[in-house]
Symmetry: C2
Amino acid sequence: MSSEEMSGRSATTAAQVRKDLSLFGSFGKRGLGYDVADLSERLKKILGLDRRWRVALVGAGRIGSALVEYGGFAERSYDVVAIFDSDPSKVGERWGGLRVRDISQFVSVAKDQGVEIVILAIPVEAVPSVMEYVEEAGVRGILNFAPTKLKVPERVAVKDVNMVMELEALSFALSQEDEEA
Amino acid sequence: MSSEEMSGRSATTAAQVRKDLSLFGSFGKRGLGYDVADLSERLKKILGLDRRWRVALVGAGRIGSALVEYGGFAERSYDVVAIFDSDPSKVGERWGGLRVRDISQFVSVAKDQGVEIVILAIPVEAVPSVMEYVEEAGVRGILNFAPTKLKVPERVAVKDVNMVMELEALSFALSQEDEEA
DNA sequence: GCATGTGAATTACTTCACAGCT
DNA sequence: AGCTGTGAAGTAATTCACATGC
């Protein structure tokens, strides 16, 4: 497949595809393009998707249930191995084969289970206290759904996700059109 | 509140806050900073959040249920007014006060209900056929959860969302650390 | 005196365009 | 001939730094 065809399938350009790939090495053959299977495998290795990652879900609320329900993670490289919440009425519930545990057990369970990534789906107010546990447990990456800037040691990687912001970007775009009209 | 304090609370810098705001006008007072209530109101207007937006959910699968369950939309400016799916076993189900309708009714219902934004939570294979309806109904914005590039007329705004990509960015970051070590 | 708003300087990203390999 | 990989050119975004107004 050529960089041209790849760009047609995604939201980018052929030059961009080539530049991005060139950052990590030389994957294609001139005159021919890229071997899909080979490229896929090499990219998986680069992205760290050639292994499984042990993930803990913190926050058994609506976003949390949405994510577990969604289930797309296991098909990828991510295994949700524990679920935590601070609400006593939720602790003990069974969620897809896992029991919701009390957040106070986070450090011991996370260490025991070798959790490397946390999906943080809790309200902003709960962030500071939960982050103490997360930090102590030596978690290395956080997918953060709370709309706040996390304070973490340098070694911890954070990715912020905020779906409402995406919707707001849409309504902004539409409002702009209205004004132009 | 000063641009300095705002930057501390979010993932940006004070200079960035001032530059971004200056694009839309002059909101602050020198020596004092920004009046939070005033700024909030003026930004809502700019972002088109001073009105309600009528939203249709297309795809009553896992992502769709997750989004409806999440419920954060209504608290914002978005009202989900209709839900569609093509699976006969799902059509007719009640989802939080709405009945799941067959996708074939999309055009008439969307026009009738004044749907402006569609949340597209369907598999990639289903995208082309569904997009015909969406286009015909005159929808103006799409929040796209399908991992494919939508072909839309220029007037339609599209925002792509892909949570797995965020997770992959995390595992990439962690893998990089491993290699440095 | 303090913090904005903004040109100027810097840094980052994207596109161009083509030499060089298949 | 076809398509990559990549310097060079061109855009865009961010940061600096300070004159200006509260």
